[in-house]
């Protein structure tokens, strides 16, 4: 176990590229901040799984069904790994984290407070949301100071990369498909564009501890801008429009500039007042409560020798 005499020493360790491990005597504020960040990530993977599961049963064809199922399974697998890493920090147990999530005491990302209404939405999630999440995760991974988190991010990023490429492939099929497919895809993009842009969050404040402690390595606005620069030309090339009437291209730099972003929508979603927040949490609660007997019976069986 390593310990540091002062926050200055600890921060110097982080600035030098040091990796913090669970048995280190890390400052409480750091432990709390990293824990909250990982818990939010875990909750979001779990709720992302619930968002996508509506369309697994309806996925067109066996190959799409198997791919959609594997993708959602990856998300639940990420949630599982992240909850274990978070629990190891000794702030809350896995059960406490689940209870807090289901009671609305903790949060998950804005995008998973929306409902997927069509197969086009399912593709828009893979194409836009997975790409946005991947960009954020890569930026965390790059300079991440908490060892266990950095190690599982490597795996998560590899899998999210597959999801994003699957989203690109399916989007192109829709682009080249029938008029109905094109329309379905455009509607999906219309619904998911802004939530994906908002996922990056408002501009990073001047003294964000997550940047200082090397959890984040990049400012929100920089990541968001990269996303917009990448997605706008791709979508336009595929024949889709961006649901942002004020979107414009800087005539000199050629960079795309978004219209005004509605941060109130982001705040409302995260606060549990998004369009599908209530149903999402209710589904999760019903499932969790419905299987309570299984968990307690397994605990009971574990306590009694066979």
């Amino acid at each position: 176990m390593r310990s540091w005499d002062s926050m200055d020493d600890f921060e110097a360790f982080l600035d030098g590229g040091g990796l913090v491990e669970p048995d280190d005597d890390m400052p409480d504020a750091y432990r709390e901040a990293v824990f909250r960040f990982i818990e939010l990530h875990a909750n979001s993977e779990y709720m992302g799984g619930l968002t996508e599961r509506d369309w697994i049963a309806k996925a067109p064809g066996l190959t799409n069904k198997l791919t959609a199922l594997a993708k959602t399974q990856d998300e639940i697998g990420h949630a599982h790994l992240l909850y274990m890493v978070a629990a190891d920090m000794g702030v809350k147990t896995r059960d406490e984290m689940t209870a807090d999530l289901l009671a609305g005491r903790t949060t998950f990302h804005n995008v998973f407070h929306y409902r997927a209404y069509s197969w086009g939405d399912q593709i828009a999630i893979a194409y836009l949301v997975d790409a946005a999440a991947l960009a954020s995760q890569q930026a965390v991974f790059k300079n991440c100071s908490y060892g266990p988190y950095k190690r599982i991010l490597r795996r998560i990023i590899a899998e999210e990369g597959f999801h994003m490429r699957n989203g690109e492939e399916l989007l192109l099929k829709m682009a080249k498909g029938t008029a109905q497919q094109h329309e379905m895809m455009q509607e999906g993009l219309d619904r998911w564009w802004w939530p994906a842009v908002q996922l990056f969050g408002p501009d990073t404040g001047p003294d964000d501890v997550l940047l200082r402690w090397h959890i984040k390595s990049e400012r929100n606005e920089v990541l968001r801008d990269k996303f917009v620069q990448k997605m706008v030309p791709q979508l336009q090339a595929a024949g889709f429009s961006i649901p942002d009437p004020d979107l414009r291209q800087d005539p000199e730099t050629g960079r795309w500039i978004s219209g005004e972003i509605d941060w109130d929508a982001l705040k409302a979603a995260i606060a549990g007042r998004g369009p599908d927040s209530a149903r999402r949490l209710n589904d999760a609660r019903l499932a969790w409560d419905g299987a309570a007997w299984v968990r307690s019976a397994l605990d009971e069986a574990a306590a009694v020798p066979a």
Binding site: A57, G61, I76, Q181, A287, A291, L298, A301
Partner: protein, 249 residues
């Protein structure tokens, strides 16, 4: 189709329905490890469906999703939604115990491609069965587990017997003679029933097995009669495909 092809269609339809129903459990199981396990099994079963349909034709989606309900041959057990986790576990145990017996009887099939599918599936089936048996035996050591699960066996075993029935036009006797299956379905069913009895005997329970004068009279799904649950299951499977039959997804 006739003969072995009808049999393969029935097995494929079982896998398609089971896989579809198990996939429902992603993110809503008793804990995340269990979500991951059931959806891995779902992927395996859907993979078996794909391999079996692939023995019957090149257009797998047309076989899996392009038929009218009366053209499916699934056993009614596989069509049950089982939205209660206890129901899913009991069906999972009955089904994967049955599959282990069924695949073993196909592993050395004279239809070589079918034998190859069966050998690959058998390895996976054994791990599915370990999963089901492990949970079941732990839960049956508790009062809550016994009261939740044991009544379900009496509810499901009559339906599960159909897993060892074959469609009427597949000339089951000829399949053994031709070396397509190693032994008659009735022998396989007896082995499966004994395995189920053994597991439940550990909990001091004897399930009630149906006594049919004519076992084939229970084989409704194999004749093309669909259970009341099939319509919703099928509607979900084909919802997007049905929007435009000319579209490629």
């Amino acid at each position: 189709m006739g003969g072995p092809r009808e049999m393969v269609l029935a097995l494929a339809d079982d896998e398609l329905c089971i896989g579809q129903n198990l996939a429902w459990w992603i993110a809503v199981g008793p804990f995340l490890e269990e979500d991951l396990a059931l959806t891995s099994i779902s992927q395996d079963e859907l993979g078996h469906a794909r391999a079996l349909y692939g023995l019957l034709g090149d257009d797998i989606d047309a076989l899996a999703y392009g038929r009218q309900p009366h053209e499916y041959r699934s056993a009614h057990l596989t069509e049950l939604p089982c939205r209660d986790w206890g129901e899913t576990l009991v069906r999972h145990f009955l089904y994967d115990t049955a599959e282990t017996v069924r695949w073993a009887a196909l592993a050395d099939s004279s239809w070589e491609a079918l034998g190859a599918v069966a050998r690959r599936a058998l390895a996976e089936e054994r791990s599915h069965l370990r999963h089901a048996s492990g949970l079941l035996s732990r839960l049956l050591r508790t009062e809550a587990g016994r009261s939740q699960l044991l009544p379900l066996f009496d509810q499901f075993t009559p339906l599960a017997c159909e897993l060892f029935e074959l469609p009427p036009d597949c000339a089951a006797d000829g399949l053994v003679a031709a070396g397509i299956i190693a032994r008659p379905m009735s022998d396989q069913r007896a082995e499966w029933q004994a395995a189920v009895d053994d597991t439940l005997a550990e909990a001091g329970y004897q399930p009630q097995w149906p006594e049919h004068a004519d076992p084939a009279s229970a084989a409704n799904g194999r004749t093309g009669l669909r259970s009341p649950h099939f319509a919703a299951l099928h509607a979900e499977m084909v919802e997007v495909l049905a929007l435009d039959p000319t579209a490629r997804w």
